[in-house]
Point group: C2
Chain length 191, copies 2
């Protein structure tokens, strides 16, 4: 999506350690009119899939998921992160690894809000090694619901997450795919 690539080049900051900071419009300050356009693009891509629920993970996925759900007219469920396993009753859980914090965490969703017959679109801000996305997919499947696809704002295409998830037969649509990124050479997108 050209508009997003231009915005990343204009406002994104590449930092040490493979970090892309886009917190001026995506995950600390949320440019709501702009993110609404991304939501419309996700709707265009997945409008034929009979989506009845959007799933994301706290915290930075929530805004994008809600602004996408406006166009679908469906609810958002956000998975909660917790460091403690099995403290909740009646939840689906799945494990993920945070490369930022270098530790495992559990994600949980109440069984009330996900189940058989649900056609779930997963929305998230970033896809890199895929740990969070794989955990969300596993959780949807555990619930007996169907993953119709994943809508990602920014995919680091030079990392393995996208390939691993696509190899599972999940349709992944990333609005910007970064081919390479460094402080010296800046950001290049996949053609």
């Amino acid at each position: 999506m050209k508009l997003l690539e231009e915005r990343i080049l204009k406002d994104g900051k590449v930092g040490a350690g493979n970090v892309l900071k886009v917190d001026s419009f995506l995950n600390h300050q949320i440019d709501v009119p702009f993110i609404t356009l991304l939501g419309e693009e996700f709707h265009r891509l997945f409008s034929d899939e009979g989506v009845n629920k959007i799933l994301t993970i706290e915290a930075s996925g929530i805004g994008i998921a809600c602004l996408t759900a406006v166009r679908f007219g469906v609810p958002v469920v956000f998975a909660k992160k917790t460091l403690t396993s099995n403290i909740y009753a009646d939840v689906y859980t799945s494990s993920a690894f945070s490369y930022t914090h270098q530790k495992n965490y559990e994600i949980v969703v109440s069984k009330q809000f996900l189940g058989e017959g649900d056609r779930v679109l997963i929305i998230d801000d970033f896809l890199a090694k895929g740990s969070a996305l794989l955990a969300l997919i596993s959780l949807v499947r555990e619930a007996g619901a169907e993953v119709v696809g994943a809508g990602i704002v920014i995919e680091k295409a030079y990392q393995e997450g996208g390939s691993v998830v696509r190899a599972q037969g999940v349709r992944v649509e990333s609005l910007a795919r970064i081919a390479s990124m460094s402080v010296e050479d800046g950001i290049r997108f996949v053609d």
Copy 2:
């Protein structure tokens, strides 16, 4: 707001320890079409205030804030919670106490995203003892920005938060105000 009161009576669950669970539509599953109506009400209430930024706190405020910001056409900034003080540079910080987790935490907002001239509407899901809201107000003032008001979905009016914040001269608009609540007698709203 009648529509919200009816929804709380229908789907809210009063639990032990002064807990109102509204996670089927507000803070785990988000009923986006319904919350959009709440956002429109916040817009009606604060449309004359020249709001140019909406501030909330992660995680459960983000959805409501974004769905309100759609009508205002302004960005959302969400404060991040952290247990560690002073680990970030160039941020405004403020302290709050979590009654749920019985511990203090810091909230932080990057100095880039809040400053002089900003007219800030604070949005949050709950107001009870007011700790989080007071921390947000303090943070906005530290930034030299102006709080034009606070839009709250559910106020526990039998707790002191609302009075304390209003006594500071801040306009607080709560869409539902609970007068009393118990497992035995259910929920009563302020007339």
